[in-house]
């Protein structure tokens, strides 16, 4: 049988407006009204939402041939540009892991880069003041990702304008793309303007590198190599527009996700000062004998890790994971016919009370030995699960540990607005922290120096 359609859809648009206003409430409504499988209508695109451990496991275990990830995110195509894939096949991903920067053996170098980039951001802070969490962590993660994934010289070319342009691109992921991603609306115009600006910025970078000789010498980096490849007729194999698409897609997966998680980790530690104190105490004692962040960030920092995991559980950066059904997907007595989309919501899953007792409570201790609630592979899913589980998960955890190891030993923070006023903006498919999101900071007086 077919999944039943959720009530309350509008003519033509279906549940699109509800998705653009209250997506998480919408997904919960499916679970309450339809059970573990129920259908949504996004302007004619039928999305069958699966909830509960069993249904989610079926989703995550399905093969790529049956459930296709690449076709499920139409709102991303204009951001990356045509011809740039959203995601590689599992085989290509493995291939990528073999040569690429996410491999275990590169992690130590990355940790060093991240600690240094955090220090560079801190150098701009001074002794005390107020900062905007979205701006601060967006800028920081733009530098760390580009340095680790693309190249150190390339990173030096980046200015704060890049993260602002990137923010415009992320804001361009309005669910109205389900109607048509090229509608002449201000939100899509701003997105396309931002993408054109990104091409201009990168063109400038590559011209400078060509003039200085850096692009052809021994120090050449990923993009220099790609730009030097020629077609048989002598024209460039990868035009700058396409390189820009690669840059955007490489940065995309690790940018708003990591930056949002950093912000929420800090917000929750400030809202729950007992855990905040525990993390700071842990870091102070870990680094008391002058240990290096590059070394320690790869090892266990239990209180901090648990705090990060709990921020991820309560505020997963992606709230809807989707696949396009290639051939009929069967689950129990239901059939989802080819052509429809199926989806799983980490925002729902991470708060299912049968898996996470007292699900709305911030409690990093739920990951301690004996409880280990994150061991529920198909329920604790901030990084997804199965074949398409985020390949950058280990990198992201290391990065967050390196950032907080550096930041929390140098500065203390406090909320600069009511604790309940921090929230995510869910009006776009890419979730961002809503502004204002400010905190106050003050340079710590280290115990050793004050005595």
């Amino acid at each position: 049988m077919n999944a039943s359609l959720l009530s309350g859809g509008w003519p033509l648009l279906g549940h699109l407006q509800e998705l653009r206003k209250h997506p998480i409430e919408l997904f919960w409504r499916v679970r309450e009204e339809c059970g573990e499988i129920g259908e949504l209508n996004f302007a004619g695109n039928r999305v069958v939402l699966l909830t509960g451990v069993e249904a989610q496991e079926a989703f995550f275990r399905a093969t790529d041939e049956q459930l296709d990830q690449a076709a499920a995110y139409p709102f991303m195509t204009p951001v990356f540009g045509r011809g740039v894939v959203f995601d590689a096949t599992p085989e290509q991903r493995k291939q990528g892991l073999r040569n690429q920067s996410l491999r275990d053996s590169f992690m130590r170098g990355h940790a060093e880069v991240i600690a240094r980039e955090t220090e560079r951001m801190m150098a701009k802070l001074g002794d005390a003041g107020e900062l905007d969490l979205l701006d601060f962590f967006s800028e920081l993660t733009m530098y760390t990702s580009s340095s680790c994934l693309i190249g150190k010289q390339f990173r030096e070319e980046l200015t704060p304008e890049y993260f602002k342009v990137f923010y415009e691109l992320e804001k361009g992921t309005d669910a109205l793309a389900y109607v048509n991603p090229y509608l002449p609306l201000p939100v899509f115009r701003a997105r396309d303007r931002a993408r054109r600006r990104m091409v201009e910025l990168l063109t400038g970078v590559f011209e400078r590198r060509a003039r200085s000789g850096a692009a052809s010498g021994e120090k050449r980096e990923l993009f220099d190599v790609l730009l030097s490849i020629k077609n048989p007729d002598g024209t460039p194999r990868f035009p700058v527009d396409q390189i820009t698409g690669m840059f955007i897609s490489m940065m995309f997966a690790g940018h708003h996700t990591t930056s949002g998680t950093a912000a929420w980790t800090l917000i929750e530690l400030l809202r729950n000062p007992e855990f905040g104190r525990r993390v700071v105490t842990e870091l102070d004692s870990l680094y008391a004998d002058g240990g290096e962040v590059s070394h320690q960030a790869l090892r266990e920092i239990p209180e901090l890790e648990n705090a990060i995991k709990e921020a991820l559980r309560l505020h997963p950066p992606l709230i809807l994971l989707m696949r396009k059904v290639v051939y009929d997907f069967e689950y129990k007595d239901w059939v989802v016919p080819a052509g429809k989309l199926v989806g799983v919501s980490p925002a729902v899953s991470n708060r299912m009370p049968e898996c996470f007792p007292d699900p709305d409570r911030y409690d990093p201790d739920r990951y301690r030995e004996g409880r280990e609630e994150d061991a529920q592979l198909f329920a604790w899913i901030p990084f997804g699960a199965g074949r398409h589980r985020c390949v950058g998960a280990a990198f992201a955890m290391m990065q967050l540990k390196a950032i907080f190891s550096t930041l929390l030993r140098e500065y203390s923070f406090e909320l600069a607005q009511p604790a309940e006023s921090y929230r995510n903006d869910h009006s776009k498919m890419v979730v961002q922290l809503a502004k204002p999101c400010r905190v106050r900071y003050r340079r710590r007086v280290r115990a050793a120096e004050s005595t």
Binding site: R61, K94, L97, R103, L377, A385, G386, A394
Partner: protein
């Protein structure tokens, strides 16, 4: 003890190879190969570390 691999989950990161090279290897296609499904008791600590640090949690350790 006995090692179980969930092939749907493994992405070939190779963290287990770093932790217990006597037990795990990756083939030329970066697919996981379990060299010894019933490793010797002396390898228990290494195997436990491999299970723990698997980024996709694809490994399990069972008692015979």
């Amino acid at each position: 003890m006995r090692i179980r691999v969930d092939k749907d989950l493994c992405q070939g990161h190779g963290a287990c190879v770093e932790e217990a090279p006597a037990v795990f290897a990756l083939d030329s296609e970066k697919r996981l190969v379990v060299l010894n499904e019933h490793p010797d008791e002396s390898l228990r600590a290494a195997v436990r570390a491999a299970v723990k640090y698997c980024p996709t949690r694809a490994l399990r350790l069972e008692e015979d």
